[in-house]
Amino acid sequence: MRFGKEIASILVFIPLVFSAKGQSEVETIEEGLLEYIAENAEEELDFSEVTEHLRTLQQNPLNLNKASKEQLGELYILNPLQISHLLYHRETTGAFHSIFELQGVEGFDAQVISLLQNFVTVEEDFPYSDLSLKMLWEDADQELMLRYGRTLDKAAGYLIKDENRSRYLGSPDQWNLRYRMNYKNTAKISLTMTKGAGEPFMTKDQPYGFDFISGSLSMNRLKNVNQLVVGDYALQLGQGLIMWNGLSFGKGAWATSMAKQGVQLKPYTSTNENQFLRGTAVNFSYGKFNLTSFASFKKIDGNIEWVDDEKRILSRPISGLHRTPSELKNRKTVRETLMGQHIGYSANRLNVGATFISTFWDGNIIKRNALRHAFDFEGNNLNALSVNYDYTFKNLYVYGETSHSFGGGLAVVNGLIASLHPSLSVFIHQRYFAKNYWQVYAQGVGESSLVNNEKGLYAGFVYHPSRNINWFIHADIFSFPWLRYRADGPSYGRDLFTQFEYIWYKKGKVSFRYRNKMRQENSSMSPEENLIVDIHRHQFRVEFQYTWNDKWKTRTRGEYLLYYKELEGQQKGGMVYQDVFYNPPFYTRIQFNMRLAHFQTDSYDTRLYAYENDVLYASAFPFYYLKGWRSYLNVRFKISNKLDFWSRYAFTVLPAEKSISSGLNQIEGNKRRELKLQLRWKL
């Protein structure tokens, strides 16, 4: 779930290219945030927690006079220095009367303010004490959304009838039902139900219908209580070393994303079946102290075995996929209980915090035999304690967290962001994750998917000399002191990234990107020798996007990848695509966007990722590989003021292939076609 830059300049890749329409701004932010991380994702991601949150704020903007540090962080627009300056300005000069007062706050310029305008307001806050059930029903924004998706070509897993073989027990249909109620950002109810492709629905294998059901009730600003959530919730504490649910933006196009700005507590709305807590959590304040208490009781997936009376947990799958008999056999077999407390203290521009978390399982977790698992956790109870801090001094922001898992090791991060000049910002981020540091819901900034067995230094700068030019460069040097997956020895690597952008304000941009990454991995040429070799990736990208008029926008990209693995030689991959967007300013009944892409790669190792627009709240980051074409068409049709309909048709053609994908997902023929339909009713 994790992936593995005067101050406004830091925001370079939340590009300052956007049309006057909020929707496309959200998509632009989303793409800037997500593009980089998706390449390192180890499972399919649900980005809706970001897109849904930003779109909700468009409807119910955040009150700048009441917004907390955490809420401002969740806008994904402001860096920690800007937030600190904004809060300090509000504290010393009083409430804002207009958002344009931000021009007088250090680090804010017209571009950032223009972007912020979509998500914040300075209106009087709603007094919670006036709330009644009648008002809730009449004034609350309610939304019901149903999505259907299906790959039209049947995969091998659906065709197998032999009950002794692994096969998909359900249909290829995907269903997603969401209900949201939001009363002026003070009371929220959310319900999410999903059925993935291949998962059974209302059959003997899954008699309860949807495979994943998640819901929550959230109340804000109840006297001393800042927030109370009952049901499913997400916690984001400190720098994520002890607890971070939801998307974690690590290294990437958003330069300051390694300085995490967690919301602490929020209701869970995503469809990821693992990265959340289930129970009750409450956040309240006493003067300069802030407390978050939480308890979670949920059943998780586990591959278990019984030895005498001992329940042994051999693995804990986190994919959330329950399609085959073996996946279903592991479904919700382990009871996980988690309790904890976070205490925060804020004084002037210093924030410090401490968190204790205790996790119990109803069986003993057994580490696997392979040598790379030698330092893994074993047992049925895991306790961890962490301390975190952040401090702003003039144009310097420092932050960090140190966490210790009892019986294990330490995880430490420290970093700084310095605005040396209005046009130049630098950042440094250090990390050390011991090979015996364990925490279930930890997510840090790093190369691997675990906060474990890694150390590194990530540094770079952002140069924004004018409204038109952005230049970002970063380097990360890292090592893995112990063995890891596909590396039977200590290994190391580096990641260099630079991107130059020329921007036509509010019109378009052209960008050039180069990324060079080196990692070490086992050689497949001599597996018996456990030889570790270097893998080099050189990635070049050129992109041009332009808003031609109030209706039409285009985006063109070309990308080329050189891949070299010692002893095994060089491979290459390339891709070009053209996107067209039709978004009339005064909303007419129809909007659409489409893509035509051509790609050619030597192998899976030279696969290329690209963001794809999708139906509302959905987004995709498929990889393109082998030789072929991919195209999609998204259409939005406004049936009435309250009713909207989306459809998506996408296809991939690999002319030289006889089948697509492998294993149970293998499709005979050289085509794969996907259909998605979505209906949203605003009550």
Partner: protein
């Protein structure tokens, strides 16, 4: 023990890494920078000196290995627009091995935007009771001030292609350096170098930033490829002196701290 180290640390790889502390801290750049320390990275940069200046530096390479560099730089205006500089470098493990370089550079301003230099160096490679090799080399350097804030530099080290006798496992760098130095503001400067050693090493890109919190304190940082490592440094100005402390941080070989002291006649 020190003799054993020689087996693992081919000096040729490391002797090229010396760069005076103010430039080292800025990501091992310096080709487009000015001042007495330019004697090492591009002597055309000493053309900016307005008075007699002397500097010395001491660096411990990869702490604990015993490898060190001692350096001395002297620069003085001769007559209108012409300057002369002298450098002396001694690199190695004391009482065991030395790679000594002694160079004389002549630099000249050409108009208000250009400066150039030519330098001649004598190198001596010495391993106790084993090797005593000597060679001469010559270097050529240019700097172009495009605008007040932006300077380009080109330096060709060892245009003569000189080398020690083939018997010595040591090479004199045969290196092309291209650099730019940009003053973002009065307090922030940015430097970028590209280096290509034609002897063997892959080309390297180096980037550095210098920030002056006040006229008396400078903080530098940078990074480079080949070797991939970070750099940091701090400079204190106590007129007529400037003291610099900087280090490279190699992820596996460790830190190489350096102290440099500059004196300029006011």
């Amino acid at each position: 023990m020190r003799a054993l180290l020689l087996l693992f640390l081919p000096l040729g790889v490391y002797c090229q890494s010396f760069n005076p502390a103010p430039y080292l801290g800025m990501g091992n750049t310096g080709t487009a920078q000015k001042g007495i320390y330019s004697l090492e990275k591009n002597p055309a940069g000493i053309a900016s000196l307005s008075s007699f200046t002397a500097a010395s530096a001491y660096q411990n390479h990869y702490l604990g290995t015993g490898i060190q560099t001692v350096a001395l730089f002297i620069g003085a205006p001769l007559y209108s627009n012409s300057l002369i500089g002298v450098k002396a470098l001694s690199y190695g493990i004391p009482n065991t091995t030395k790679l000594n370089s002694f160079g004389i550079a002549y630099a000249k301003k050409i108009g208000s935007s250009f400066s150039s230099s030519i330098s001649v160096n004598h190198h001596r490679y010495y391993i106790k009771d084993h090797t005593n090799e000597k060679a001469f080399s010559a270097d050529l350097g240019f700097q172009w001030v495009v605008i007040k804030e932006l300077t380009f530099g080109v330096f060709y080290r060892n245009i003569t292609g000189s080398q020690f006798d083939i018997y010595a496992e040591q090479s004199i760098p045969n290196e092309l350096l291209l650099g730019l130095h940009y003053k973002v503001s009065g307090s922030v400067a940015f430097s970028c170098d590209y280096a290509k050693d034609f002897n063997s090493a892959p080309s390297s890109v180096r980037i550095g930033i210098s920030y002056s919190a006040s006229e008396k304190i400078y903080v530098n940082g940078g990074m480079s490829t080949q070797p991939q490592q970070y750099y940091a440094g701090i400079g204190l100005v106590v007129l007529p002196f400037r003291i610099d402390f900087a280090s490279s941080f190699h992820p596996y070989l460790g830190t190489s701290p350096q102290l440099a002291l500059l004196y300029a006649v006011r």
